[in-house]
């Protein structure tokens, strides 16, 4: 759990190599026997240095994970975006209930009457509905928005890592 405003950007502590690496490996980590050697070629650094920097960036928490992002639907799962109107004084309690489900990957408080938003994936739409029903029962909140996607336009984002403001 984290208050958005409480996180301090660590931009200043990133070296030029760090920035190059972050910009490169967001788009793709080399699918090769020696991925760090390939990154070394692309950045002009040496393999060991690149390896150390990537590990450090993970340790710092700048990189959450290096791995695969799958298309949930193509894997055969159903997904939705859901929301609740949680009374302010109960929001943590309600968030704990919602986030206890492994199919809930993202859960945020947002500034609106519908203040608790979460993504939910499950084997089928019927399973999604039954999880939402369970959440409604456990929280005592009768109304939930269930907003499955009908068309996908764009998913990925790229965070350009630039020079820190001087």
């Amino acid at each position: 759990m984290s208050g958005i405003g409480a996180q301090r950007p660590q931009l200043e502590s990133l070296s030029e190599l760090d920035r190059k690496l972050l910009n490169l490996i967001q788009d793709g980590f080399p699918l090769a026997h020696s991925p760090y050697a390939e990154l070394a070629r692309d950045t002009g650094a040496d393999e060991k240095q690149v390896f150390e920097r990537v590990r450090e960036l993970v340790r710092m928490g700048v990189i959450r994970r290096i791995g695969g992002v799958f298309d949930t639907r193509q894997l055969g799962f159903a997904g939705t975006l859901a929301a609740l109107r949680a009374p302010r004084e109960r929001i943590r309690e309600i968030a704990d209930i919602v986030t206890s489900y492994s199919g809930v990957s993202h859960c945020y408080e947002r500034d609106d009457a519908w203040n608790l938003w979460f993504t939910l994936a499950a084997p089928s739409a019927a399973d999604i509905e039954s999880i939402l029903e369970e959440i409604r029962a456990r929280t005592g909140i009768a109304d939930a928005l269930n907003l499955p996607a009908v068309r996908v336009h764009k998913i990925g984002v790229r965070f350009g890592i630039g020079e820190p403001e001087s």
Partner: protein, 157 residues
């Protein structure tokens, strides 16, 4: 999509993080899945081409690198073609992600959603204003996130 047991093992191995204690991270993953490194990398490349793997790379903690504003923009665009036009304008910004048309509900008319990331709230607002200006769609709002309760990658298998 019907995956074989081996393919499910591969998805399970790749949905996490690569081992960070070796210069050759795909080797132990392949061993764990009972395939050769070449077979693993071939599967991964094919899945990336087919779109089953949307991306294979570093997932950043964007707040740690200055992208502290996170807005869910919601747009009420009842006309289908117009929704497509707004979506295209939104998608043209690299700071915009997860642009979906979604079902509506009795007290929820917003059918187009897009995440807008920014170095600050102003940046998010500017992008939304620009999209509104270009498309003429004015019925939109930005819902900023205030608390992150959970943010994880899905574990499929």
């Amino acid at each position: 999509m019907n995956l074989t047991d081996t393919e499910k093992r591969i998805v399970k191995a790749l949905q996490g993080c690569i081992p960070l204690d070796t210069l050759h991270p795909f080797e132990p993953i392949a061993r764990e899945c009972g395939v050769t490194e070449d077979e693993l990398l071939d599967a991964l490349r094919k899945w990336r081409e087919d779109g089953l793997v949307r991306r294979y790379g570093a997932i950043l903690n964007h707040r740690a690198v200055g992208w502290t504003a996170n807005a869910m923009s919601i747009w009420a665009v009842p006309d289908c073609d117009k929704a497509g036009e707004v979506a295209r304008e939104l998608a043209s910004f690299p700071e915009v992600s997860h642009c979906y048309e979604r079902a509506t509900a009795p007290d929820w008319p917003y059918n187009l959603f897009a995440m807008i990331h920014g170095l600050d709230r102003g940046m998010c607002e500017e992008i939304a204003r620009e999209v509104s200006r270009r498309t003429g769609v004015t019925d939109y709002r930005l819902l900023f996130s205030t608390v992150e309760f959970k943010k994880e990658s899905l574990r499929y298998f």
